[in-house]
């Protein structure tokens, strides 16, 4: 990268200060220090003196877009976003959960983000793999060009090649470990439904107890609800305490939607989300 994490942090603080000082926004969604350097936390700066707590380092993986829906309409919000996070903002704009005039997007072009738990670099294998935010009002740095992008769908190849029975055994083993803590749902910027389908009793869509078939029902339905909306930020998989590779299924759905409908979630303000749209010439072959 042309600039370091520290330099991005300086720019982020400077812009946040300016936006809060001038009253252009009343809250800045960014990051702060946690109990150690590898464990930062999401942060909402509400006044100029809060800005000194803002940081940015390679562990700031949080998708701050999930906090946008907590604020009442009309609240002016500035938000720090990386590539996938900016896609989430676009998707939320499509779904009218936030207005374009109410949000100031501070885009951060970056690579080299690391997983706090494993220390491994985060790339297209578990996220969308893009470096540059799709949407921004302010760019904190320079767009990154010329660096090869790890395809976000490459990691699917061994799973697609698996025999269907083996694939079922794989997913059953993963979902048997699920304890139904719902961290995946809460970490996701697109899961803002209140009440969530799984919490409804009339009708009951899935069993509450953390057993095999109820777990399948919860996760498959969630994958369906996110098809064409998931921006591949990887937060759900990082949030999962028992390390279920949810990103695999979300990526598969993103790949299918791309192939069937020619679109990726949150890639453009002009596109309409795939499942609330249609083309008369959509092929019947997609149903085979």
């Amino acid at each position: 990268m042309a600039i370091s994490f520290k330099q991005i942090e300086e720019k982020l603080k400077a812009e946040s200060k300016r936006l809060l000082e001038t009253g252009q926004v009343s809250v800045v969604l960014a990051y702060q220090n946690g109990y150690d350097e590898k464990h930062p936390m999401p942060y909402a700066a509400k006044c100029v003196s809060d800005v000194e707590n803002i940081i940015f380092n390679e562990y700031c993986n949080f998708n701050m877009a999930r906090y946008l829906v907590r604020y009442s309409r009309g609240t002016k919000i500035a938000i720090a976003v990386k590539a996938a996070d900016s896609r989430a903002v676009i998707q939320l704009l499509h779904e009218e959960k936030v207005c374009r005039e109410d949000v100031v997007v501070m885009g951060i072009p970056v690579y080299g983000m690391k997983n706090s738990e494993t220390g491994q670099e985060i790339d297209g294998q578990t996220t969308c793999g893009l470096y540059n935010p799709i949407l921004y009002d302010i760019l904190l740095g320079e767009e990154i060009h010329g660096k090869p992008v790890v395809s976000p769908f490459e990691v699917l190849t061994p799973y697609e090649a698996m025999d269907r029975e083996d694939r079922f055994v794989f997913w059953k083993k993963e979902f048997d470990r699920c304890i139904r803590c719902y961290a995946c749902r809460k970490a996701c910027p697109m899961c803002y439904c209140d009440p969530c389908f799984i919490d409804q009793q009339k009708p009951r869509w899935g069993e509450k107890s953390p057993q095999s078939s109820g777990n399948f029902m919860y996760h498959l339905t969630r994958f369906h609800h996110l098809a064409g909306r998931c921006v591949d930020c990887g937060e759900c998989s990082r949030a999962c305490p028992v390390n279920i590779p949810l990103y695999l299924f979300h990526k598969k759905m993103a790949k299918e939607c791309k192939e069937m409908f020619g679109q990726g979630a949150g890639m453009s303000l002009k596109d309409k989300p795939v499942l609330i749209n249609f083309r008369v010439d959509d092929s019947d072959k997609i149903l085979e």
């Binding site: 464990h39 304890i179 961290a183």
Partner: protein, 345 residues
């Protein structure tokens, strides 16, 4: 009595335990440790710091079936599920987690009415506590020293185990433990030097400190009470919180549950499943009213329950400082720092 066995002969000890009952021990799955019922003795792995999920699921499983019923019939025809528990060996539990069982006992058997499911399992289980390895530093998230638990604290264990180089020293701490240790034919005799090492290790464990903050029970309870209406404090603390449920489900001291009837085509089961006060619908009432709609209200409740209400009622903090809540929080909230901030506020 003190016995000794070589660590690389653990599988022999494990097979003897499996001959006499059910063995539950730490197992490595995809790089992370969990307590699982052992089928293959080679799976037992003691090279771990602590498990992801706490061992409370041994006594308080995530799903517990109570009654089988048929919707067309009378409730009197419902059949209670028989709980048959084989003698169980819970092997390799860290001192903080062992202490958590004693705190959970308060709720499941100490308030006058006894939960027979908890009680039956508790009585059938022999707990093999396992000291933390003192040559390894404690992890940043742990704070059991603050709660008066030593890194090699044998309290609550039936048999306590300490690692001595390539050997495992096992000492019976209760009569239950003594009987079992005898029956397990652990052959190697311990030397007087081993005895000394054992006692010194426990002592050293009391000095090995994790994060430590001087917290006096009644101080913290009073402080929490004073802070209850300070919405600014609680809103600031909870601004990052996702209100998911990971901290609750991994906490060895959280015991909230929901009873649900799961029915299909006229036949069903009434079961108990884990619930979390962090869930949005935890306090949702049939009328539709929900007293705790905001994240800050739910987080305030959780912290207050553990550090204030529990202290007032039972004179114990409902926390053992294992650090799982902080370690696995998706937004890295340091739960203990909330308590520290409350003390300073």
């Amino acid at each position: 009595m003190l016995k000794k066995t070589a660590i690389d002969k653990i599988s022999e000890l494990a097979s003897r335990m499996m001959e006499q009952g059910t063995l539950i021990a730490p197992v490595k799955e995809d790089g992370y440790f969990h307590f699982r019922e052992i089928a293959d003795v080679q799976a037992v792995d003691l090279n771990y710091h602590n498990t992801v999920t706490s061992p409370k699921s041994v006594f308080f499983p995530p799903v517990e079936d109570f009654i089988h019923y048929e919707t067309g019939k009378s409730i009197l025809d419902a059949v209670a599920v028989e709980l048959n528990v084989k003698p169980t060996f819970l092997f390799g539990v860290r001192p903080c987690d062992v202490r958590s069982f004693q705190i959970m006992d308060i709720h499941f058997s100490g308030t006058g009415s006894v939960d027979p499911y908890w009680q039956k399992r508790r009585e059938a289980t022999v707990i093999f506590g396992y000291a933390f390895y003192l040559d390894e530093p404690a992890q940043a998230e742990e704070f059991y020293s603050t709660l008066g638990i030593g890194a090699a604290d044998p309290e609550g264990s039936d048999i306590f185990m300490i690692r001595k180089e390539n050997d495992l020293l096992l000492k019976s701490m209760t009569s239950k433990g003594e009987k079992i240790l005898d029956r397990l034919s652990v052959h190697d005799a311990a030397t007087p030097e081993d005895e000394k090492y054992f006692e010194e290790y426990i002592h050293r464990g009391r000095q090995t400190r994790t994060r430590f903050t001087c917290i006096e029970k009644s101080n913290i309870a009073k402080k929490m009470e004073d802070l209850f209406h300070n919405n600014d404090f609680w809103m600031k603390i909870s601004s990052a919180c996702l209100s998911c449920g990971v901290c609750t489900f991994l906490c060895p001291n959280c015991y909230c549950f929901d009873i649900c009837d799961e029915t299909l085509f006229g036949k069903g089961t009434r079961r108990r499943v884990w619930d979390a006060c962090m869930f949005t619908d935890f306090t949702l009432e049939a009328s539709g009213h929900n007293p705790r709609t905001q994240v800050y209200q739910r987080l305030r409740q959780k912290i207050n329950h553990k550090y204030s209400y529990h202290v007032r009622k039972y004179d114990t903090i409902s926390c053992v400082g294992c650090g799982r809540c902080t370690r696995h929080c998706p937004v890295n909230i340091d739960i203990f720092s909330i308590v520290e901030d409350a003390m300073k506020a």
